[in-house]
């Protein structure tokens, strides 16, 4: 059952790179307080779709709307201000700054903008939420891998976004870290955040996602709850090849 107002809608979103159609007429909606998983085999266009939403890439055609207002084709900064925050597939932190300053970047310039003490308080609150309360003064070079991911997540959360985009946020974590990571996203879900996540970790998809959109070769091949889509023969074929369907 998918309740809540539509926050984000994609209609016919398409991205061509020369002759290659990386994302081919994708439609889906993300509802308020929903965690939507964007899954599919490697090279199926998931990250490109995320890049279209965040404005890292402009769609070749189609529209993307945030609470009814079109954001497709807008620059990334404008989309960020309207309330879309993201993490990157390869973690991107600000190397010359402390953990606190990294997170303040999101608090100062994000969707809800703060300055001075208010921004610092917000950054500290978010750091505590992601489990980095004691690391505010550290340099980012001193962090472990999962902690760099936490900082990036905190930066995205610091501007109180309407929609949070997580691009393989759980990738590369060891089993213990993975458990912590899944717990953390669970916490965001319980808070009622609206999240779109691109993910390969099946356990995470099953336990976190309210809905899934499955992509293969740039197209949407299935949509529904995680258990529905993961038992769909076409999805199995896309992941494992014809013999297993």
């Amino acid at each position: 059952m998918r309740g809540g107002a539509q926050v984000l809608s994609l209609r016919g979103a398409t991205k061509r790179f020369g002759g290659l159609v990386a994302v081919d007429g994708i439609d889906f909606d993300v509802h308020e307080h929903e965690v939507l998983g964007l899954i599919g085999p490697n090279g199926s266009g998931k990250s490109t779709t995320l890049n279209l939403i965040s404005g890292a890439l402009a769609p070749t055609s189609g529209t993307i709307t945030l609470r009814g207002a079109p954001i497709s084709g807008q620059p990334a900064r404008e989309i960020a201000r309207r309330g879309v925050a993201r993490t990157f597939q390869l973690v991107r932190l600000l190397p010359s700054m402390t953990v606190l300053e990294n997170v303040m970047a999101g608090a100062v310039f994000g969707h809800r903008r703060r300055w001075g003490h208010a921004a610092e308080a917000q950054a500290l609150a978010v750091l505590e939420k992601v489990g980095l309360a004691g690391a505010a003064g550290s340099r980012v070079g001193q962090l472990t891998y999962i902690d760099t991911k936490r900082v990036e997540l905190a930066r995205a959360l610091a501007g109180d976004p309407e929609v949070l985009l997580l691009d393989e946020w759980l990738a590369g974590l060891n089993p213990t870290e993975l458990e912590q990571g899944i717990d953390l996203i669970h916490k965001l879900r319980d808070e009622g955040r609206t999240v779109v996540l691109v993910e390969h970790v099946m356990d995470a998809i099953r336990s976190l996602c309210d809905a899934c959109v499955v992509m293969s070769s740039g197209r949407k091949i299935a949509e529904g709850t995680p258990s529905e889509v993961l038992s769909d023969p076409e999805v199995v074929r896309a992941y494992l090849g014809d013999d297993n369907a």
Binding site: A56, A76, A80, R92, L93, M97, A105, V108, H111
Partner: protein
């Protein structure tokens, strides 16, 4: 303002106040050196306001400086002198805004080359215009002495430090640091990177033009090859890097020893100055990649960690 801000403000004012006493010595050579140090100090500090956080190396200082000298050269017979430096600042700022809009999309080496080419292009245009109109150069005849020029430059220095202090505490300053670290992150957290860069690029452009306008009376005879000398742009970069661009006080710490060294070089080896300038550049980049500021912070960090172990 915090207690530390007040301390820095008082310390800065006292140092500037002491510097302002130099002309009282009556030593013409010392005052001439003082004008050089003040000039390079202002240029390097304002250069570092933009190029420090963004890591965009601008070689356009000579372009704006030259424009400033020509504002004085062509305006001195028409307008009172006191109106010329502010006018130069406005023209330099507008020029920097236009150049910034056109070039700040360029990254890395393309930006460096463009800014170098800009000074050369303006010099060629001025030369062409002078040839076309039969001018050869312009005289700037005023009753301003070295002392006046020196005090004016100190006044500009005070303004540049105040501006740098304010920018360092502003959203704009924070935005520029984020841009310097990772431009893609900057745009994805909602920063208008183009506007931020252009806004801050205007500052060194305006300041260099003001300095050019103030130095013009010292040159007396203004011609394109001295007004737009690319050597100036390189010296400013080298001095700022020698001092370090991470702190507001960094560049001046590079300017003072380098100006004195340069004095020795130009007196002792007048024919090899360019060669020695290049050599200095190599040595600084090799031995002090983060300038005196970096060295100072390394020593301090080592002292702190030593304390922690004891």
């Amino acid at each position: 303002m915090t207690a530390r801000d007040w301390k820095n403000l008082v310390l800065g004012s006292v140092l500037l106040g002491i510097a302002a006493l130099l002309p009282l010595t009556g030593d013409a050579y010392a005052i001439a050196l003082g004008v050089n140090i003040a000039m390079y100090g202002v240029l390097a500090t304002s250069w570092a306001l933009f190029s420090g956080p963004t890591h965009y190396i601008s070689l356009a200082t000579a372009a704006f400086f030259g424009v400033g000298t020509y504002v004085t050269a062509s305006g001195i017979d028409v307008l009172p002198y006191w109106a010329l430096p502010p006018l130069a600042g406005i023209i330099g700022g507008i020029l920097a805004g236009i150049v910034g809009l056109a070039t700040l999309r360029l990254s890395g080496v393309y930006f460096v080359i463009f800014t170098l080419g800009l000074a050369e292009m303006i010099r060629q245009i001025v030369t062409w215009w002078q040839n076309a109109t039969g001018h050869k150069g312009s005289y700037v005849l005023t009753d301003l002495t070295e002392n006046h020029i020196y005090w004016q430059l100190l006044g500009v220095a005070a303004l540049v430090y105040l501006a740098g202090w304010a920018i360092g505490r502003s959203r704009l300053g924070f935005a520029l640091r984020i841009i310097g670290d990772d431009e893609q992150v900057a745009s994805h957290v909602g920063i208008n990177t183009a506007v931020s860069k252009v806004a801050l690029f205007i500052v060194p452009g305006a300041v260099a033009a003001i300095v050019g306008a103030m130095i013009a009376p010292r040159y007396i005879y203004i011609e394109p090859s001295t007004a737009f000398t690319p050597m100036l742009s390189f010296q400013v970069v080298i001095m700022a890097m020698l001092g370090g661009t991470g702190r507001l006080w960094g560049p001046i710490v590079g300017v003072i020893p380098f100006t004195l060294l340069w004095e020795v070089i130009s007196v002792s080896f007048p024919n090899q100055t360019t060669l020695l300038l290049g050599l200095c550049f190599l040595l600084i980049v090799y031995l002090l990649p983060n300038g005196f500021v970096g060295l100072f912070e390394k020593i301090r960090a080592r002292a702190l960690s030593k304390e922690a172990y004891q």
